[in-house]
């Protein structure tokens, strides 16, 4: 049986690890051709494991334009763009260096803007030839919905992703551009990024990452972290025609964290 994304072309930024890797797997399971992009050299083990890989510094407009040229040459279209790439930063406002703040905003927000802007023409073209248009899925966070102490830069960046998404959805809908745009808001997911963030934090607090991760799991109503695939499957739903009437929506996947 053909998958619901058969014939669709997708690109997932930050697609070699963690949530991004799981998103690639889920889109492929539904039949899509998926480009993973990341910083790795093309001959790295992770890059070679990807079905289609584009080395991409997602903060560079030139790099995005080169990626578009590759996809355009290969398929002439893009149906699904998942702006997943991102980074973590914790610390008190008093202790944050402006350079670190800017780097985080660049990694989490410039990347969404650049991916969207660069690929809009190819997405619009593909969207005109499918029944319910193309789909952009932006990975925000529950930290784009609610605040947390010492997470100010990440909160700000992910809140930015949330409202960029809504504005973009309305812009396209108002102009009749056949691209749906929605955001996904994961809670705490068991990824290398999460562990690294906690390792940095734990070092400052004099505890261990494991202890902090377990404590975080206990603050989630489900008493566990999400597995990356539990985010990937939600992205695949939003990418598909099953979500044909959804645009500008935020899908929260947090085991009940923000229901309180």
């Amino acid at each position: 049986m053909a998958g619901r994304l058969e014939g669709r072309i997708a690109l997932v930024s930050g697609g070699l690890r963690g949530i991004g890797k799981a998103i690639c797997d889920c889109l492929e399971a539904d039949g899509a051709v998926v480009y993973a992009t990341d910083l790795d050299a093309p001959d790295s083990e992770a890059a070679r494991a990807a079905a289609h890989y584009i080395q991409l510094d997602a903060t560079s407009e030139d790099a995005w334009i080169a990626a578009r040229a590759r996809v355009e040459q290969d398929f002439g279209r893009l149906d699904i763009l998942v702006n997943n790439v991102g980074a973590d930063l914790t610390g008190k406002v008093q202790d944050l260096a402006l350079a670190d703040w800017r780097r985080l905003i660049t990694l989490n927000l410039d990347t969404v803007f650049l991916g969207t802007k660069t690929f809009q023409p190819l997405l619009a073209k593909a969207g005109a030839s499918t029944p319910y248009g193309s789909s952009i899925v932006n990975i925000s966070s529950i930290m784009g919905l609610v605040g947390m102490g010492e997470v100010s830069a990440y909160n700000a960046s992910k809140g930015g992703v949330r409202l960029f998404t809504k504005s973009n959805a309305l812009e396209f809908a108002d102009a009749g551009v056949p691209i749906r745009v929605n955001s996904v808001h994961p809670g705490f997911v068991e990824t290398p990024l999460l562990r690294k963030g906690f390792e940095n934090w734990a070092a400052r607090e004099g505890t261990t990452a494991d202890a902090m991760i377990e404590a975080m799991a206990q603050t989630t109503p489900f008493k566990r972290l999400a597995q990356p695939v539990e985010i990937g499957k939600v992205v695949a739903f939003l990418a598909s025609d099953d979500a044909s009437y959804m645009t500008g929506s935020e899908v929260v996947v947090d085991g009940g964290w923000t229901a309180r």
Binding site: K166, K233, V234, D242, G255
Partner: protein, 261 residues
């Protein structure tokens, strides 16, 4: 043919199954492989795809006990509950009678409470050891997120559904019951209920005729059209499935961009 959400081996109950979204939901869940019990207020009804039709007044505790008992006897389990039954009230606050207000709450809110309570034991058992557990999907509305003129009673009821869902989700998680609870928030959908609302708008002089009301409501969605029942049903099927295994207490807004503004 697309690979849909797989609900093979599950048993689902859909209330309000003869309405537009209800019928589409029965269809989507059946297509995904679930055995679906369709229920509604009428004694008899034909709902395509349903394994069984069970008459159910969602405001009656006794009726819920009967239907859940019947499902346990005939199917031995229940894994998904879609609390979809609901009515609209389109009226000014001044002209709304207390009985009209209470009737709306009895169906839209008490119905969700009674259904959740009655089905909880079977759902808890059905979710045990199953990926993603059991799932309750409560139909709220964009009216449960935003207010609308002449819709105070309806919006209040749908706001209640939204927060009942979150509290039930947290309660079940705290009790380690394998039941996820989420709400769905449709925009204006091509259903008989919307036609009823349009007719009331015309009665109240908000629009000269049905077509004008329909055009204005369509334009209120960023995508410029109302939704189709199937577009809500696919969201319900998604929440019912293991693909939504980490989702509980969430709101799935399917509104063509209406509330993005």
């Amino acid at each position: 043919m697309t690979a849909k959400t797989d609900l093979t081996g599950t048993v689902a109950l859909v209330t309000g199954a003869t309405g537009g979204i209800g019928r589409a939901t029965v269809g989507a869940l059946t297509e995904a492989g679930a055995q679906v019990i369709a229920s509604d207020i009428g004694v008899n009804a034909q709902v395509d795809g349903a394994a069984m039709y069970a008459p159910l007044d969602v405001t009656s505790e006794a009726a819920w006990a009967d239907v859940i008992g019947r499902i346990e006897r005939e199917f031995g389990r229940l894994d998904r509950l879609v609390n979809n039954a609901g009515i609209s009230v389109t009226n000014s606050v001044a002209a709304t009678s207390l009985s009209e207000f209470r009737k709306c709450f009895a169906i839209n809110v008490e119905g969700v409470f009674l259904g959740t309570r009655a089905a909880q034991p079977l759902l808890a058992r059905g979710g045990e050891g199953r990926e993603g557990g059991s799932s309750i999907i409560n139909l709220s509305s964009v009216g449960g997120l935003r207010g609308a003129a002449m819709m105070s009673t309806y919006c209040a009821s749908k706001g209640a559904v939204k927060l009942f869902s979150k509290s039930a989700a947290l309660e079940f998680a705290a009790l380690k019951l394998p039941i996820r609870v989420n709400s769905v928030h449709p925009g204006g959908i091509e259903t008989d209920m919307m036609d009823t609302i349009f007719a009331r708008y015309v009665d109240e002089g908000l629009f000269p005729d049905m077509d004008a009301a329909r055009a204005a409501v369509s334009a209120g969605h960023a995508v410029g059209r109302m939704g189709r029942p199937a577009e809500i049903a696919e969201g319900i099927a998604f929440l019912a499935s293991p693909a939504a295994s980490f989702m509980t207490g969430s709101e799935l807004v399917i509104d063509g961009g209406m509330t993005a503004r």
